[in-house]
Symmetry: C4
Subunit: 342 residues, 4 copies
């Protein structure tokens, strides 16, 4: 999600716009239509509710992910550090933003060096899949992984963002075969991820056939990258084009259901517009294994590591109380808890 | 719904917050989606419409219940007195608030002594079911019943409220077996009751198997105890957690239908967000035998006994006119009157 | 819809409140959910579209009825005169308000003497059906008919209005048998009519079995008589009771469908919240033979005969253009035109 | 859509009202209920997406039509020139407004002479079908075609507009047979077109049987001609009649589906309320071959040729990005792309 030249100024723009403007999709996540059925007799003790999960050989204390966001500038480095410290303190997973800037300019790599602050966490490297059509090979992916000692590699799919950017990388033909190569040859599992428009049944099937180990739906209903780009674009005409896509995409709730349908055994990460632990719990009941948030963590990280920790703990507590409310003693039980539409 | 230490100050907080803040659930009761079919030819005389019902060996003049609310402080005692005088004057049923405070501090018992003001009414004792996991036994339940010469004992289920309170009693494992013991051994029928999040099919089945004699659904759509606690909590983070549950729970209308489905012969008490006699009549048409209101009666009781009597009469008149509107001569007829969703 | 003592002051109240306050039901007519399917090739000439219909041996120029409203006071007499002159000038049907006041006080009869202004129109007498339970017999009905040389007699059913009025006539038991007697013995056809809460399937079946010749559904969505009474009632408590019924009743569109279902061959008059000729046309497509309006004509009649004529012509033109829009050359064709819900 | 006498002043009125007043239908197009399913892996390159289509022997660069609008006055001539220059520059199709004024007054013909500015475009002549009932014959149609060297002839159907205009041409009986004659004898293909109320299944079947070569649905949801006429009408009563039809018509999305159902092989042009290229793409996925816009192009044309070109390019880019978003490499692929209703 970065482009040369002047990637760094763009990165700063993205952060600033995300913090200052209303970049939300005109769509909702769809989660607001689903309700848990309260069980007044949970037959479980709140303190014994178990939020642990295993993924890619690591154990997480809660099904919460700090979604891929940033890196490449000094400010981004500080944000990454705070996010990492908080993830380490609470035992949750985290992803870094696109590492392309660091692959092309090694000096920018410092802002991604967060293993020092988070030696134990499940950590995801990140690269735009489309770069595989612009000269990147397995080797670049491996370098991104090694750079941060990542446990898995996220290949993000952001076709619409690229299409809306004035000089976006919009050659997506033949990408699937290259993703397949990366899945086969890179040293860690590969996660395919959207950035806010969701994954369809058809795309999920293609990705699973290509060998990805997990899918992050990153559905519609939260941060809208067409809106972010709209605020960046100077040209009025192109800004209107961006605006025309404000209600584009598959809402997160429906995307989870779509992917679950065609790939019932592949771990699904839910993200896109999740606001509370109740939302994350709904995603798990719909078929996800954990939930990621981006925009919210960004805001907390501009304050302090403690603010991020607080947000994580608050979210974890909301998940735990939700599970108590439906009498689910662990995440496996939560994942088979029914939701209802009134 | 009380906790040591300093139960009394908490009780006062609850009353004050209920009177001053907007503590309504973000959900509606669902009753607004159901409509009676007006019958222009009722073939009945308004004055002959019969609102009597029998429950637990007593006869009520109307299917109205003053829901369990308070006790334990002087102010609560006055509220209880007024509610009791009004219930006696109009011949309706009433429940007292949780008696735990009086069981642990006999001096607080005075505020529950309302049989003197209401010798004839159907009166319900009240204890939090979860206390059975914190040292209470059948004996405590029996003492609560005897304290007020109650006709039945309400065991309330308030898991979510406990979970949201900073030091709530959240060990709900194994509770069902203990409820079963109470049902077997206490001298009066036992009513299981939620406090504003409703009873599901599964929970209803478990409760009926355990031997409860009636179920008060206390569904979502009215007073929300997560909101009440939100206003009490000092810690901002925990207040945000409480807020995340503002639209939690099973709306009253749907909870009645769920319980009716699995326990068609167990008396169902409807409560949670009922605003008028038309609402109570809808609940009866959906399967309940009577309707309870809490928040509204609290407001009236802070004024005078007469204000409570007026509210009861107004509500009774609304039920009667509703029955006239559909040509139902008695509650049995009302209970088999169809509702429609346009 | 009038009550002794002091019927005249009540009548004035009704007129005043209808003109000054918002007395609309909280419900809509349901017509807004139904749409005609535009036929771009009507294959008919607008000027040749035929709006005539026959009812009770008279021919009407348009399927429009000035619904029963008033009489009994001098002001009401003037309103009736203007309505009658306009009905005569345009060839449509009209009903007078309840004639009880004139039956009990012959002096009040003058305000109903409108045959002089409308010698040719289809004219409906009007009496509250419930009066048959309060001493009225066939003889009174016949006197009401004769008083205005009516072509048919409307027996209005207004149970809820009576129930909400402080001293309403609320003995509705055994009414059906008496309606049957009137149908058998009075010299003109009898029309059963609600006053704003609609006719159900069950009521329609009973009325048809009793021998009524037509049914005016007078459904919910327009003037709400509980609201009118609410504004009249001094007692705050009773006013709140009235307010509880603001969304009571069967919306006009659904009531037409209900009556049509059980009585496909009985003429149905649609009224209750009709605003334009498009609404009337929708009612005809749903199964009615004509549409009545009350509130709107009242407003026009307080101005002048011309204002009433203008409203009629405007409404007729809207019906005609609607028929042109769907290619219906006459009312029979309109009545089999499909409606759609998007 | 023009009437003698004083057609020119009416034409100016139409333009002025369309530019200054809110003449939108109270209905929406229905397109807002349909969503594309985002495909995160489009497997296509944005720059290679092909927007060409063939119609009536000409090739268009994009499935965009400047809908029939104007002609007859000097100002209209300038608007037509700008629209034509822009259509030529971008390679899209265009229609002129009704040519009746030029048939009856040869001097007015100049404003339609746009072949000089657009020698290569697909160009549509335009006449009101109802004129065939007012003296027009095949010969007049042929003259309209020849006047502008049109590639096809649009016969527009505007029954409701005629009915609402004070002296509208409202004899529509027998029109179908005459349309059939024109289809047989005129030298170019004939397109039947509404002007904002849509084409039904029944009408589509009749038109196809009569031999039309394409149908422009011109559905509800955009410019409402009853509203345009409402602003023109001086007489208050007739203005109210016009207002009663503000939510008349078949929304564009549903009209496309209706026509597609009965005439799957006839080219469908979508128009009526289309706002962006995303809307046009939705229409194509629903069954249309291209999308027309009127109101929006009018506004641009009052500025300059460049403004029109910009609007076309913006719209084309939105179509292209939509196709990229769903992985459709050409219009054929787009036309079989599913839409979903959440
Ligand atoms: C400031 C910011 C930067 C982001 N950068 C990336 C990125 O580099 N790579 C990526 O895969 N996703 C990126 N995302 C997308 C998020 O990971 C996530 O999928 C999406 O924003 C939905 O989350 P939200 O609605 O909780 O904000 C970014 C999001 C934000 C807010
Ligand atoms: C001030 C207050 C105190 C309450 N205390 C109790 C209680 O001690 N025990 C109980 O079972 N329910 C208690 N409730 C819950 C009510 O009995 C009832 O189930 C619920 O509030 C829904 O009623 P409402 O929406 O009409 O207020 C209380 C409610 C209020 C408003
Ligand atoms: C001022 C007024 C007086 C009415 N009086 C009578 C009446 O005496 N008898 C009757 O059958 N209906 C009466 N109605 C009811 C109307 O006939 C009609 O059924 C109802 O108001 C619905 O019409 P609307 O929504 O167009 O106002 C009256 C209505 C109004 C507005
Ligand atoms: C100013 C104006 C003039 C129009 N004149 C004609 C016309 O002469 N012939 C015709 O077939 N349609 C005419 N139309 C209708 C349009 O071609 C189109 O079908 C309809 O307006 C829907 O498009 P819109 O919602 O994008 O404005 C006119 C529309 C406008 C706005």
């Amino acid at each position: 999600m970065d482009h040369l030249p002047s990637t760094e100024s763009r990165k700063s723009d993205h952060i600033r716009i995300n913090l200052e403007e209303d970049v939300r999709s005109a769509l909702t996540t769809g989660l607001e239509r689903f309700f848990f059925i309260h069980e007044a007799l949970p037959e479980v003790n709140l303190e014994e509710i178990d939020l642990h999960l295993e993924l890619f050989g690591k154990t997480l204390n809660a099904p919460i992910l700090i979604s891929s966001m940033t890196g490449g500038t000094e400010k981004a480095g500080l944000i990454n550090q705070r996010l990492a410290e908080a993830a380490q303190a609470t035992g949750i997973a985290m992803g870094v933003g696109s590492q392309r800037v660091a692959l092309e300019n090694p000096q920018a790599g410092a802002s991604f060096q967060i293993r020092q602050f988070a030696p134990d966490i499940l950590l995801f490297a990140n690269i735009g899949a489309v770069q595989l059509n612009y000269g990147y090979a397995v080797e670049h992916c491996q370098r991104a992984v090694d750079m941060i000692q990542a446990d898995a590699l996220i290949l993000h799919l952001n076709s619409l963002q690229e299409a809306i950017q004035p000089e976006g990388d919009t050659r997506f033909a033949g990408l699937l075969g290259k993703i397949e190569q990366v899945c086969k040859q890179v040293s860690v599992p590969v996660i395919a991820k959207e950035v806010g428009w969701g994954i369809s049944e058809r795309t999920a099937r293609m990705l699973v056939d290509a060998g990805v180990s997990a899918i992050d739906v990153a559905g519609a209903g939260g941060t809208s990258w067409s809106q972010v780009e709209m605020y960046r674009i100077q040209d009025e005409r192109r800004a209107r084009i961006a605006a025309a896509f404000r209600n584009w995409g598959i809402p997160t709730a429906y995307s989870i259901q779509m992917v679950k349908k065609v790939a019932p055994h592949v771990p699904i990460i839910a993200s896109g517009g999740l606001k509370t632990g109740v939302d994350i719990a709904k995603c798990i009941a719909l078929g996800a294994c954990m939930g990621g948030m981006a925009g919210q963590f960004l805001k907390a990280a501009t304050q302090s590591t403690e603010a991020v920790i607080e947000l994580i703990e608050e979210t974890r507590e909301e998940i735990r109380i939700t599970m108590f409310g439906v009498g689910a003693a662990n995440l496996k039980a939560l994942s088979s808890t029914p939701l209802i539409e009134y």
